[in-house]
């Protein structure tokens, strides 16, 4: 009711003022969907606070539902009542939402701001636009952290340390899904990086990956939430474990735990916005206005002050400064930093969109055996 009154009041105000009628076409509230935690906080401080400072009439509401965004959006769409305006999802989910017709296809150059030097948005984002519906925001990576006090005098420098139980005894944590694990297993089984997906496409290649994972199966704690590995590392439950690089940053720099980063063979992934299909005209206009602001060069660079994820725009990279609270330089903590990105692995979205269901069934069967 209160909301309605505000809307009516705002409408009445714009009507009387007249010339500002343009803003009457924009909805006054916006519902943003994200992942919660430090990441959502970084978005709030880098995008939402300055946006609201410019547009004091707007109320932004966060919904921490990105984990189930695809399912919820599908349910909303079936019910014919989409209540979200912008949804933060990983690239693979964006592709699926686009496939399902739940996310809006957009023209990146028309919707998004060009770089300060005039480079068009589609060039500035480059290859990171992996789907017609996807508005890239950050590059993050899934990589390994290890207990510096449990690896002796030879800290691991190679991702295959995960499979080396003789050199690094103890439990390790891996994500409870085939993505990334299958690739790392093949790389450590001697498959060249470029051939990983060709090998994984065959039955023999899949068997090979599972055989490699079999060698450590009894030593693995499988995680399903990004916070699991940091907790397991902090408790000394595991000697090495995979998680998102931003989580490791906060364990190492913010919580000061004896944990080290292993950037080798980090798997780059993307996170960004999609606009749901089925928004009313006013809400769509507001969502578009916000997303144009939130993904401009400065805003993306600002976000790196609060979290160690790389901005998706090329033009943002030189603007990355220091951490807002800790005062440390953020550039060396970015997954995209040249020092960290010496050996990276690019996750193949299209391939996984096809093989996900099949390999997941196999992976779960393998886990259960």
């Amino acid at each position: 009711m209160k909301l309605n009154k505000t809307v009516i009041a705002a409408a009445a105000l714009t009507l009387t003022v007249g010339p500002t009628a343009v803003s009457a076409q924009l909805a006054d509230d916006i519902t943003l969907v994200s992942w919660g935690g430090a990441y959502q906080k970084s978005q709030h401080r880098a995008y939402v606070e300055p946006y609201i400072a410019d547009n004091p009439d707007v109320t932004a509401v966060w919904d921490e539902s990105s984990y189930e965004a695809v399912a919820k959006l599908r349910a909303m769409n079936e019910a014919g009542n989409v209540t979200w305006d912008l949804v933060d999802v990983v690239a693979s989910d964006a592709i699926r939402l686009c496939d399902e017709g739940l996310a809006m296809e957009i023209d990146h150059d028309e919707l998004l701001a060009p770089a300060p030097d005039g480079t068009s948005a589609s060039e500035d984002f480059g290859d990171l636009i992996v789907s017609d519906c996807f508005i890239p925001q950050i590059v993050y990576s899934t990589t390994f952290g290890y207990r510096t006090d449990m690896v002796g005098s030879t800290p691991p420098t190679d991702v295959c340390a995960v499979f080396d139980t003789a050199m690094y005894p103890g439990k390790r944590s891996l994500e409870k899904r085939p993505i990334n694990n299958m690739e790392w297993a093949l790389i450590c089984d001697g498959v060249p990086k470029a051939d990983v997906y060709d090998v994984l496409e065959t039955e023999e290649g899949q068997a090979r990956a599972f055989a490699k994972l079999d060698t450590i199966k009894d030593d693995v704690i499988w995680w399903s939430a990004g916070a699991d590995t940091p907790q397991l590392l902090a408790d000394g439950e595991v000697v090495i474990g995979s998680t998102y690089n931003g989580r490791l940053f906060s364990v190492i720099e913010e919580q000061d735990q004896p944990v080290g980063m292993l950037w080798d063979a980090q798997v780059f992934d993307l996170d960004g916005w999609i606009i749901p299909v089925g928004l009313s005209e006013e809400r769509l206009a507001r969502a578009k206005d916000f997303v144009r602001f939130a993904t401009d060069t400065q805003r993306l660079a600002d976000q790196a002050k609060y979290i160690s994820y790389g901005p998706a725009r090329m033009s943002s990279a030189p603007l990355v400064g220091q951490h807002a609270d800790l005062g440390i330089d953020m550039a060396p903590h970015m997954p995209t930093d040249p020092e960290n990105a010496k050996n990276t692995f690019l996750y193949n979205y299209e391939w996984w969109a096809d093989y996900r269901d099949d390999l997941d069934a196999k992976f779960q069967a393998w886990l259960a055996q």
């Binding site: 984990y67 189930e68 695809v70 399912a71 599908r74 699926r96 686009c98 496939d99 399902e100 017709g101 296809e105 439990k171 409870k176 704690i221 499988w222 399903s224 408790d235 000394g236 439950e237 299209e350 391939w351 969109a353 096809d354 093989y355 996900r356 269901d357 099949d358 997941d360 069934a361 196999k362 779960q364 069967a365 393998w366 886990l367 259960a368």
Partner: protein
């Protein structure tokens, strides 16, 4: 005589019987109105979702709705053939795909079919991008050069009406085209006909007997079309991806063309529906039977643990003086009032290898530091945590039943010479069985559908079927399979309930009183 035959009347002159009936009806209506909110609530939040779930587990309209012409054409194709289907199927598929791409439903169909055959999602996505740029543009150009009338949407409108019988493909494609253009909000008569219409017209003209049209425009077009360079749609599709020539792809589409499919149910029991009938899945893909079995087995273990731990507590509660019993009761209820997630997370802290229990055992030298017990991320973890969480559901019904057993029964048994054990076993215990029954049914049914605790502490071998259902609902989006798994779980519970009723009798279950 007449006085007896004539009906008894009430004060206002209506027959007494009718008046009574009306009063009764009013009473009934009032009673119904009283329960109506609850009935509506149950209907909306319980019956309707379950009905929807049952329906989803067999529903498969997407294939038929997205590519109706292809489904029709594939009916005449023998799936035993070693090669891909004939040109008619590719023609139909081309028409369907163009409109599906316009509605953006081709990728949705791709994800649906990808559940059955890996690779179809990208095949449909890729083809969707290219299907609008086929060489069928050559037909369009050729027809337009022949007669400018073909550029005019009105020509098509007239022909699709008057020649529908002799131009079936064109008429059907035109009807869908009209819908697509109108859905776009534009005037169809102003629109430019799409290439797909020309391709359909070409196919119709080639099939029709020469010169058999009444319309001279068509006769002219027909004789000219014979000289056009034919565009093989099969090759156009093959140029996108060789997979379109793979008969397996078409067999999958044909197998799943029906509006209803048993496919999801077969998948839920590790079978699969193929063109050759129902087959077992590969050894490495079988998982659901194992998970159903494990869910039942672990729920049973949890129920038994709850009985063993709950019975003595309930006995104490029922027999201690009220003051002490109340304090004990609070201890039982306290965890009940604590958030489920908090309790599960505390179990993590307690049970992990560097956790409290292991630390104590190591400090007491009961276990060696190198061989700390693995109590979590396996079945043990799930059983411990879930037994704790479900224990109140066992204790409370047990307690309320035990409370009603008169102490004089046991005293009487003892005065007749029974030992303590005999008095308990022959007199007290049989009286408490309805409580065990109620507690077991409650705990077992709750356990069988549990999700969050196994997910957090179950590792890989301690997870339930519900975790897979959640996965298919929120991650893989295979809602049909999730619905089928859920339906099987529902019927498993109903069958168990029925068996229980047969063996113990549901009248013997008491929640109290």
């Amino acid at each position: 005589m007449t006085a007896i035959d004539s009906p008894v009347l009430t004060a206002d002159g209506t027959p007494l019987k009718a008046s009574l009936r009306r009063a009764l009806r009013r009473e009934k209506a009032r009673a119904f109105l009283l329960v109506a909110p609850l009935l509506l609530f149950v209907l909306l939040t319980f019956i309707a979702p379950i009905a929807d779930m049952l329906f989803r587990s067999v529903e498969n309209g997407i294939v038929h709705d997205t590519i109706p012409r292809t489904v029709q054409a594939l009916r005449n194709w023998d799936p035993e053939e070693s090669g891909p289907p004939g040109d008619d199927v590719f023609e139909a598929f081309y028409t369907d795909m163009v409109f599906a791409v316009e509605r953006k439903s081709h990728t949705r169909l791709g994800s649906r079919l990808n559940y059955e055959r890996t690779g179809l999602a990208s095949l449909f996505r890729k083809s969707g991008r290219r299907v609008g740029k086929f060489d069928t543009k050559d037909y369009a150009d050729a027809f337009k050069t022949l007669d400018p009338a073909w550029e005019d949407a009105a020509t098509w409108d007239v022909l699709a009406g008057s020649e529908a019988a002799s131009l079936p493909r064109t008429a059907s494609a035109h009807a869908t085209w009209l819908e697509a253009v109108q859905a776009d909000g534009s005037d169809p008569l102003e629109g430019e006909p799409w290439d797909v219409l020309y391709a359909a017209l070409y196919a119709d003209l080639m099939q029709a007997p020469a010169g058999g049209f009444e319309n001279p425009l068509l006769n002219g077009a027909q004789s000219a079309a014979a000289g056009f360079e034919p565009v093989s749609l099969r090759e156009q599709f093959a140029a996108i991806d060789e997979d379109w020539l793979d008969p397996q792809v078409w067999r999958t589409i044909r197998t799943y063309a029906g509006r209803y499919t048993p496919g999801y149910f077969l998948n839920s029991v590790d079978l699969k529906l193929t063109a050759d009938g129902v087959q077992y899945r590969d050894e490495g893909d079988r998982i659901y039977i194992l998970l159903f079995g494990r869910t039942l087995y672990m729920s049973l273990v949890i129920t038994i643990s709850c009985i063993l731990l709950g019975y003595p507590v309930a006995f104490l509660l029922a027999n201690l003086p009220l003051r002490t019993a109340n304090i004990l009761m609070i201890l039982v209820l306290l965890p009940f009032w604590t958030s489920l997630l908090v309790r599960t997370s505390s179990w993590k802290v307690l049970l992990q290898q560097q956790g409290v229990i292991n630390d104590i055992l190591v400090a007491l030298r009961i276990v060696d530091d190198a061989s700390r017990l693995i109590l979590i991320n396996n079945q043990t973890g799930t059983i411990i945590a879930m037994t704790h969480i479900l224990l109140p559901f066992m204790i409370l019904p047990l307690y309320s039943v035990m409370k009603t057993i008169p102490p004089s029964y046991v005293r009487a048994a003892k005065s007749l010479g029974a030992t303590d054990w005999t008095a308990f076993w022959r007199v007290y215990f049989p009286n408490s069985v309805p409580g065990i029954g109620a507690g077991s049914v409650l705990v077992f049914i709750l356990a069988i559908g549990y999700y969050i605790t196994p997910e957090l502490v179950g590792g890989t071998r301690g997870v339930f079927i519900s975790n897979r259902i959640a996965y298919h609902i929120s991650s893989s989006l295979n809602w049909g399979l999730a619905a089928a798994l859920g339906t099987i779980l529902l019927f498993a519970v109903l069958i168990l309930y029925w068996t229980y009723d047969r063996i113990v009798g549901i009248d013997n279950v008491k929640l109290g009183g």
